[in-house]
């Protein structure tokens, strides 16, 4: 079983490097500026005052030290982890659209392990729970990987289906086996203080997860660039046929491992969100982090370090959108539109440049 040509084309094109880091940042800035222009237009058309709305947006995202650390950065953490998950999968030519489901699987396993770990000392149970979250995310992604490798099922469709299944599974679990002891609320029992991820900066809500995200991003960046394993991943993503024929790479194995690793990263995102922010499992634990992750990864050109930057950007957008809804009455769904427009702009600018390059080749 080899990857589909479609996905290899994607990885090759969306993740093309070669321009300087500065040029890439400049391009991202341009795209963001265009998006902001469209946002103003959209606000004006739908009858909101753009100035008020944008002021609220800025205030909610960057208005104070607390807003930046506790709203923007706290949201950026799950976005970065799921963004890394998507970027890794896309780099390998796998269209994993299932980070949302994998995140939920990770959060669920973490809640289950912590709920059952009464006697185990917190110093041990917390890492154990995070590991369980990663394993669950990997397992959930593994279903899609198995379906793809054994039966040729497009992972795009299977991962989306699995997102819905995960959502309903959580809905059932928090009203059933994992419900809190009083059986009143559809959520799991709140975590004891000792089982929560420590806060990093006193007076804020910024938790240890930020260090995890940053170190994983740097490690992944180095690994993809410097090591044989990372090169195999990129080669399979660029052209699985050539990787198998010339490199004698076991494409199926690389794909499987990449899929599992991607799921583990998204699962860790869920585990970190549960232990660092929500402290309990419930249905709406994620406001669609796993979907936004696609925009995060694409805008970062699948570069793991770039993901950190775009995750903060989208974290700011979401934090700002909350403030915008509160202060200017602008529906939060606006964020989805902005994300979609950014993805489309990235594709369009890539394709237009690509078409030019082909024409002059």
């Amino acid at each position: 079983m080899t990857a589909t040509p479609t996905s290899s084309v994607l990885a090759a094109n969306v993740g093309r490097e070669g321009r300087g880091a500065l040029g890439q940042v400049a391009q991202v800035a341009t795209l963001v500026a265009i998006t902001m222009g469209l946002l103003v237009l959209l606000l004006a058309v739908t009858g909101y005052d753009p100035a008020t709305a944008l002021r609220a947006l800025a205030r909610g995202a960057f208005g104070s030290w607390y807003a930046f650390t506790s709203a923007t950065l706290v949201r950026a953490i799950p976005l970065a982890l799921t963004g890394l998950a998507v970027a890794l999968a896309f780099r390998a030519g796998l269209l994993n659209i299932g980070a949302e489901g994998q995140l939920l699987a990770g959060a669920t396993a973490t809640a289950a392990v912590l709920g059952a770990s009464g006697a185990v000392p917190p110093l041990l149970s917390l890492p154990l729970a995070l590991a369980a979250g990663m394993a669950a995310g990997a397992l959930w992604a593994g279903i899609a990987a198995l379906l793809r490798q054994r039966f040729g099922v497009l992972e795009v469709i299977s991962t989306i289906m699995l997102n819905f299944v995960a959502l309903y599974a959580v809905g059932w679990l928090v009203r059933g086996p994992l419900q809190e002891p009083t059986r009143i609320y559809p959520q799991s029992a709140s975590l004891a203080k000792a089982l929560q991820l420590p806060v990093l900066l006193p007076g804020t809500r910024l938790h240890l997860g930020v260090l995890l995200a940053v170190s994983l991003a740097v490690a992944l960046w180095w690994w993809q660039r410097a090591t044989a394993g990372g090169f195999r991943l990129r080669a399979v993503g660029m052209n699985p046929h050539a990787a198998a024929t010339i490199g004698r790479v076991d494409v199926a194995r690389v794909s499987l491992l990449a899929f599992l690793a991607s799921g583990a990263l998204a699962g860790l995102g869920g585990a970190v969100e549960l232990t660092g922010v929500t402290y309990a499992l419930y249905e709406n634990l994620s406001p669609g982090y796993g979907y936004t992750a696609i925009a995060v990864a694409l805008l970062a050109r699948l570069n793991p370090v770039g993901v950190l930057g775009t995750a903060v950007l989208f974290g700011a957008l979401q934090a700002g959108a909350n403030a915008m809804q509160r202060d200017a009455g602008v529906p939060i769904a606006l964020v989805n539109v902005v994300e979609a427009v950014l993805i489309l702009l990235v594709i369009a600018s890539d394709r237009l440049r690509g078409t030019r390059a082909e024409a002059t080749a």
């Binding site: 289906m161 309903y168 529906p331 769904a333 606006l334 369009a348």
Partner: protein
């Protein structure tokens, strides 16, 4: 006398109707070699446009206007997808995902803008069941198939018509040839880009009507995200139906049945089965269907291929 089975079958056909509409449209699209993951977005846009239009026009002409608006909205949002994939040759999967995200966000935004945060005062005309005298009295199948809204009856015409069109018209041949081998189609004088563009937009119109059906023939109201993955389920239905209109109709019925199981269980008094199981069932079924080893065998050979050698 109406039995639980009658209720179940009627619900199955009712649920299958929008799925079949969207899947037939996607079937046309995929036969041209394009997979439209943005189908979900076309459905939700169709649902929203139908809501606004039917509400504004009112009455029975409001229903007709709602369906028309649904089709137009489906085409408009799919136009964006088409320009990206057919003319810019952008990746179909990523573009489709973005279009879905875009449509879900836009309808959510517009809904709150038009109706406020609660949706109070949202009353729109709907189309009721239109039992066919005689046929609807048949045992078992009567109520299920012949006491449905007009749009369901429309499907009874569209499905065989489409099957005939695929096999017995030169336009149908051109569509299939484009999906199998755009180069061969071009060499024979077919214009693959135009064929793909039209096929994608037609699929969008079908999906828009499917969205309108959700509102005008079923729920009677708009809810944010009410498409709830139906676009993706429709894509699975196309696979199960093996890219043939008749097969797609049958597969849609199967999925409608799976969704309608909860009514059957409720009426049989099996309340201890968690309702989330029924909600998840269509998605699980989709996975099982796709996992059939032969599912890929009859897919159009150039499906989702981006390169289109032209000239």
């Amino acid at each position: 006398m109406i039995t639980p089975l009658d209720d179940f079958l009627a619900a199955a056909v009712r649920t299958a109707t929008p799925l079949a509409l969207a899947a037939l449209g996607e079937c046309i699209t995929e036969r041209s070699g394009v997979i439209n993951i943005g189908l979900e977005g076309a459905i939700i846009c169709g649902a929203f446009a139908a809501t606004v239009t039917a509400g504004a026009v009112g009455g029975s002409s409001g229903v007709a206007a709602g369906f028309a608006a649904g089709a137009v909205a489906g085409v408009l949002v799919t136009l964006l997808f088409m320009l990206f994939t057919v003319y810019l040759r952008a990746d179909q999967i990523i573009t489709g995902t973005a279009i879905t995200l875009f449509a879900l966000g836009l309808t959510g935004l517009l809904y709150k803008t038009v109706y406020g945060t609660t949706g109070v005062g949202l009353t729109i005309p709907t189309t009721g069941e239109l039992p066919i005298p005689g046929l609807s009295q048949l045992p078992v199948v009567g109520r299920a198939f012949f006491a449905q809204p007009l749009v369901t009856y429309g499907l009874y015409l569209v499905v065989p018509l489409l099957a005939w069109w695929f096999a017995r018209t030169h336009a149908g041949l051109a569509l299939r040839a484009t999906g199998e081998s755009p180069d061969a189609a071009l060499a024979a004088g077919v214009q693959p880009r135009r064929v793909q563009a039209l096929a994608v937009l037609t699929g969008g119109a079908f999906a828009g009507v499917a969205g309108a059906t959700l509102v005008l023939a079923q729920s009677g109201t708009f809810v944010e995200g009410m498409s709830a993955g139906k676009g993706f389920i429709a894509i699975a239905i196309v696979v199960l139906g093996r890219w043939s209109p008749i097969g797609v109709a049958g597969a849609a019925l199967l999925f409608g049945g799976a969704s309608a199981l909860q009514y059957l269980f409720q009426s049989l008094g099996w309340r201890e089965v968690p309702y989330q199981l029924f909600l998840a069932l269509p998605y699980v079924l989709t996975l099982l269907v796709l996992a059939r080893a032969s599912a890929r065998a009859q897919a159009p050979a150039a499906l989702a291929r981006r390169e289109l050698t032209l000239g």
